[in-house]
């Protein structure tokens, strides 16, 4: 099965990424991080990342990689150039997801087993605060101005708005069953909260906390219980909202103005988290059961490639070079 080099080159020209960078994927079962070149879409490295790495993010300067090593009860910090572990950060027990303040410090970490959100200073490596929240905290989102951090609790079915200066919950919004992820629009006008069992994405007005719209999903031929919204990402112009739909193996594209689903894109099995590259040209999805990531062309609204990574990929972040 040969390929003509010319045809491949042509294909690369037509669909190739614009800027070089690295895609870091946390492999929950493989206990590793897979590094994929964002230009060639080839795996360039895989390195150990402690036990059960899940949540993953990078510092604003792209130099540090933060990974929730859930079973080690710490956040591990890696150099994005050398892949060496630099140090660990205290996270409280079982860190699953976290969000970094837009300034790069501190880190807000959800502790699933302790019903807490732990606030950790990434420079002094100390815990600044522990905020009691609902049962089984999971999703973490932060307002673009950094004033509020939002935590979703899976069992309480709530989005808790926490003031980042007083560490107090100032507002709660009841959403559908098992909220997994919280994502603000860049202008801070809306907050999207996905509910895995409820099968919906609530569009919340952060100013007051009322739900202004509920996005529901329907794919012909797929049982509704498989349509489980998890990861959510919004383009910075707020026009396109991508929602990972777990075991339905689809990513929904939602219109950011009408909140109607426009399209379902077929990706790998059990699609979990999503991440844009810096220019928002491509969206990367982690597919936990098929052990790969799928790459979506954001403008063309189609899946262009899937790449094998480690065992059970969970989280993903793209760091520009």
């Amino acid at each position: 099965m040969n390929r003509v080099a010319l045809a491949t080159a042509l294909l690369a020209l037509m669909t190739g990424p614009a800027l070089a960078g690295k895609v870091f994927v946390s492999n929950e079962r493989g206990n590793t991080i897979t590094v994929v070149d964002s230009e060639t879409w080839e795996v360039i490295a895989e390195f150990p990342a402690g036990n059960r790495p899940r949540g993953i993010t990078a510092s604003p300067d792209g130099k540090h990689l933060y990974v929730c090593a859930s079973d080690d009860n710490v956040v591990r910090v890696f150099d994005t150039a050398t892949y060496q572990e630099l140090h660990t950060l205290p996270s409280g027990p079982d860190p699953e997801l976290f969000v970094l303040h837009p300034s790069g410090n501190p880190l807000y970490i959800a502790n699933e087993d302790d019903n807490l959100v732990t606030v950790t200073d990434v420079n002094t490596h100390t815990i600044l605060a522990e905020v009691p929240v609902g049962v089984e905290p999971e999703g973490m989102g932060i307002s673009p101005d950094g004033k509020y951090v939002v935590n979703t609790s899976e069992t309480t079915n709530m989005a808790h708005f926490i003031d980042t200066t007083s560490y107090e919950i100032v507002q709660n919004t009841l959403v559908d069953q098992r909220p997994r992820f919280a994502q603000y629009t860049t202008d801070g006008k809306y907050l999207f909260v996905s509910a895995e069992i409820g099968g919906t994405v609530s569009v919340i007005n952060p100013d007051g906390g009322e739900i202004v719209h509920k996005v529901t999903f329907e794919v012909p031929g797929i049982p509704p219980e498989l349509l489980q919204p998890v990861g959510v990402r919004v383009t910075s112009d707020g026009k396109k909202v991508f929602v990972a739909l777990g075991p339905s193996n689809r990513v929904a594209l939602v219109n950011g103005e009408t909140f109607e689903v426009e399209k379902y894109l077929l990706v790998g099995q059990r699609v979990w988290q999503l991440a844009f590259d810096a220019e928002e040209k491509y969206l990367y999805t982690t597919n936990g059961n098929s052990n790969d990531i799928s790459i979506i062309d954001v403008a063309a609204e189609e899946v262009v490639k899937s790449v094998q990574v480690g065992q059970q990929p969970w989280g993903v972040v793209v760091v520009p070079d």
Binding site: N2, R3, L10, L11, G221, S306
Partner: protein, 263 residues
């Protein structure tokens, strides 16, 4: 050279006229793969769960998978249809007229096959157009690269049809061709399922699919549609074309072939 081209033009024109007059044939040739695409593929959409195999870069729905196979289906049915028309020609006597021409017989048969292929290719493009309108789109250049693949596949299956027609003595026997040629050729190929899926049920079935020249014609079309080149498939398809062309020539040779037996 000139008489050869005149003969080619005459045969192609005759086929084109036949084609133009039988618009229902064009429609029915399109309806068949469309029914498969819309009804059959829809039923299997969720059940099949295709993994990533070359030339695909990511996950695809079953509809996307069977489009090249359905192009192959058009070529296959048309090839057999021209076989049927050859039997008809023989019964009506126009075959005698054609074969008594002083031009080399291989050229006349080849022109006949080429004429049939031209019609098939047109139908394939019409089918690909409808599929694209339904949302099953290929890369733009794929529609260009697929042309030589469709022509070669058409010649191979057209030659098979001509070779078969020399074995069929009467129109009524065409049902046998359906049963013993079209169905096995189509079902025991990669048109409907990839090889790995066949291997899951039976290794023997997988091996039969892997040597079936129709599989290779379909794979050649599939790779070309995705701007890729499959050397193995090209080799097999070209080889099979030569063998079928040889068989067709032999079948229509009055000195040696089967024509003599039937007078």
């Amino acid at each position: 050279m000139r008489p050869l081209l005149i003969a080619l033009a005459a045969i192609v024109t005759r086929e084109a006229l036949r084609f133009a007059r039988q618009r229902s044939r064009f429609v029915s040739a399109l309806v068949r793969p469309l029914v498969w695409l819309v009804v059959f593929a829809a039923g299997f959409r969720a059940a099949l769960g295709l993994s990533i195999i070359p030339p695909y870069q990511t996950y695809i729905t079953y509809e996307t998978y069977i489009v090249p196979g359905l192009c192959g289906m058009i070529l296959l049915f048309n090839g057999m249809q021209s076989s049927l028309s050859l039997v008809y020609d023989r019964e009506m006597g126009s075959m005698r007229l054609l074969l008594t021409s002083p031009l080399p017989r291989w050229w006349l048969l080849f022109a006949k096959i080429l004429a049939g292929t031209a019609v098939s290719v047109l139908q394939c493009y019409a089918f690909l157009g409808i599929a694209a309108a339904m949302g099953i789109k290929m890369p733009v250049m794929g529609y260009v690269y697929v042309l030589p693949a469709l022509v070669l596949g058409g010649v191979m299956l057209g030659a098979l049809g001509v070779a078969l027609s020399s074995f069929i003595s009467q129109m009524e026997n065409f049902a046998g061709v359906m049963n013993f040629v079209i169905f096995p050729t189509f079902f025991m190929s990669t048109a409907l399922y990839p090889l790995w899926r066949m291997a899951e049920s039976s290794m023997l079935l997988r091996d039969i699919c892997a040597v079936n020249p129709f599989s290779h014609a379909v794979e050649l079309i599939r790779f070309a549609l995705y701007e890729q080149f499959n050397g193995m498939a090209l080799l097999w398809t070209a080889l099979a074309s030569l063998v079928f062309l040889g068989l067709a020539l032999w079948g229509y040779d009055p000195g040696r072939g089967l024509m003599r037996r039937r007078g």
